[in-house]
Amino acid sequence: MKILIIEDEPELAKDIAHYLSGENHLCEFASTLNQAIEKIELYAYDCILLDLMLPDGNGLKILEILKTQNKQDGVIIISAKNSIEDKVAGLQIGADDYLTKPFHLSELSARIHSLIRRKQFTGSNSIQQNEITIDLLGKTVKVSDIEINLTKKEIDLLLFFIGNKNRVLSKSALAEHLSGDIADMFDNHDFVYAHVKNLKKKLTEAGYGNYIKTIYGTGYKWEA
């Protein structure tokens, strides 16, 4: 997958690329609006990560260019501006998602996964992972053709793990994913433990391998 990271903070761009590197993604960088415009005119990307506040202009311009040139690149806005107006404007012009800084890399990774999945929609929108099959439209999960009963939250959690294979996910990242922005307001994310435990239990009972590992003191990891 080809990903363009349009971000003027080089450290952040580097870290994003580093985190995504294990996933068979190819990351390219642009730190100014002009660089970004050059790149999108020359190449097509599966996903563009777009910072709105660039030294030489507003990133929303990229969206306009993509729209006028009728390009299909998926765009996730990553912005320090947590304003509804920007969010609405961005999504209206054609962005697929909006993530406010600061964010967990795992959340970004899950969003990229979900975006690419939607872009590659082929009719039977399902994900295959080891012995598991997730039907994204029907919201059903099957382990070796036997349907298991997962709650909405558990499916969400499962997708988040799959979107971050072989990555250690901190409790706060999981909490933020499950509760959204509101998780920011809490220090205690112990509820994550209960959800992961339930998910693990249901998967093991259905005969699925124990892929979710608890990492001492920090969180969980899906080992595939």
Binding site: E9, K101, P102, S170, S172, A175, I182, D184, M185, F191
Partner: protein
């Protein structure tokens, strides 16, 4: 306000001053009047003497003295008893045979020679009784005071309203002035110098205040904005560090311990930014929002945290309550109230949410009452104690202020309650 009105105060001072002046002036007036009167009398007496000398003395006979004295009550020729060498004036009382009363007189005695024999010319003029004089002066003064005050009251009542109008206008504008409203005040021009000066000084003060306030707001907004990017880098670095396969248990614990303060910083920053935005009057558009629906949605989002703390939620939202305001702000308001009720709740505590009329009350179990005065201030409760940003309720208050909603805090029977009247 318990003070005295400026008008009444000046009026009182006028009154006291006039009375004082009149009281001091009355005796002075009395004495100079008496003096003038005596001087006048003396002159008249001298005139009598001159007339006598001029018209009668040259041909006056001793034999005529008896007759003269018989028909003249006030000018008499008497034999010399004591030696009077020149004109002598003095006061003397005589019994008035008609009234049988002592009457004061001014008397002039002067030596005259009639047919070579010395005689005493005595002329007298009755003086008005001094009591009568005091009485008349007093009457005149009382009438004067009354007249003066009457005019004063009339003038103050008649003209003060007009004269003080610019002052009242200024006061009314100051009262309605709201620093957060981002609107400067313009005072009407007045031809009274003092008021014009006051208005100009106030204008300067207000403009300066607005500018300082704006600078501060912009500063907070910029500062929070600037912090977002380094925070994002920090968070990303932490996520990467977690991926390190060679982390020892000790290192993992340290990373975990960093996550907490990091998320607090980002929470405070987010809330500061939000406050700045609310103060900047962003979130302007309004719509009608069903409160019950919004509360249920928010509870849904918070469900994980409510269950984790084993909190029971009692809802009594049977009545419909629609609020006309900005949706994001209302979401934040309800969110903060509920988050507050969870964070400051006890384990296995409860939350009660109810409507009565246009008042929404959110209560939660708690142990000790909070300081009613400080509770809505920024950072009133330090974040290290509660883990909260210290801004949640300040934001709630700010939103209430924006829409003129009333918010009240109560602690009763181990329950913290926040009541908002929309």
């Amino acid at each position: 306000m318990g003070g005295v009105k400026l008008l009444n105060k000046t009026f009182r001072i006028y009154l006291l001053c006039s009375i004082a002046v009149l009281v001091i002036a009355a005796p002075i007036f009395y004495f100079s009047m008496t003096r003038l009167y005596i001087e006048d009398t003396d002159e008249t007496l001298l005139l009598y003497k001159k007339e006598f000398q001029h018209y009668y003395l040259s041909h006056f006979r001793q034999s005529e003295i008896e007759n003269w004295n018989k028909y003249n009550r006030d000018i008499k020729i008497e034999p010399v008893i004591s030696s009077v060498v020149s004109d002598t004036f003095f006061h003397k009382s005589f019994i008035d045979s008609l009234d049988n009363e002592n009457e004061p007189y001014r008397v002039l005695q002067s030596p005259v020679v009639i047919e070579n024999k010395p005689y005493l010319f005595t002329a007298r003029i009755s003086l008005v009784e001094s009591e009568d004089l005091i009485e008349s002066i007093a009457v005149v003064f009382v009438v004067l005071i009354a007249l003066l005050l009457g005019v004063l009251v009339f003038v103050t009542n008649r003209f003060s309203t007009k004269i003080w109008q610019p002052f009242r206008d200024t006061l009314a504008k100051l009262k309605s002035f709201d620093l957060t409203a981002q609107q400067t005040v313009s005072f009407d021009k007045t031809d009274i110098e003092e008021f014009e000066e006051l208005n100009q000084s106030l204008q300067k003060l207000i403009d300066k205040n607005i500018s300082v306030y704006n600078q501060q707001k912009t500063f907070i907004e910029n500062a929070s904005h600037e912090l977002q990017t380094p925070l994002a880098v920090l968070k990303a670095k932490m996520d990467l560090l977690l991926q390190n396969k060679d982390l020892t248990n000790e290192q993992s614990e340290i990373i975990n311990a960093i996550e907490l303060p990091l998320s607090r910083v980002s929470r405070i920053n987010k809330n500061l930014l939000l406050l700045a935005k609310i103060e900047n009057s962003q979130f302007a558009d309004k719509e009608k929002i069903e409160l019950t629906e919004l509360i249920n949605e928010t509870l849904e989002l918070l469900a994980n945290y409510i269950t984790a703390k084993q909190i029971t939620v009692d809802k009594n939202l049977s009545e419909k309550l629609a609020v006309n305001c900005n949706k994001t702000l209302l979401e934040i308001l309800i969110g903060n109230l509920l988050i507050n009720a969870i964070v400051h709740n006890t384990e296995k505590g409860s939350i009660m949410i109810e409507f009565s009329g246009r008042t929404l009350t959110v209560s939660n179990t708690g142990k000790t009452a909070l300081d009613n005065k400080k509770i809505f201030e920024r950072f009133a409760v330090s974040s290290s104690e509660t883990g909260n940003s210290g801004l949640g309720l300040a934001i709630v208050k700010e939103i209430c202020n924006r829409y003129n909603w009333q918010i009240q805090y109560l602690f009763d029977a181990d329950f913290h309650s926040f009541a908002i009247t929309f």
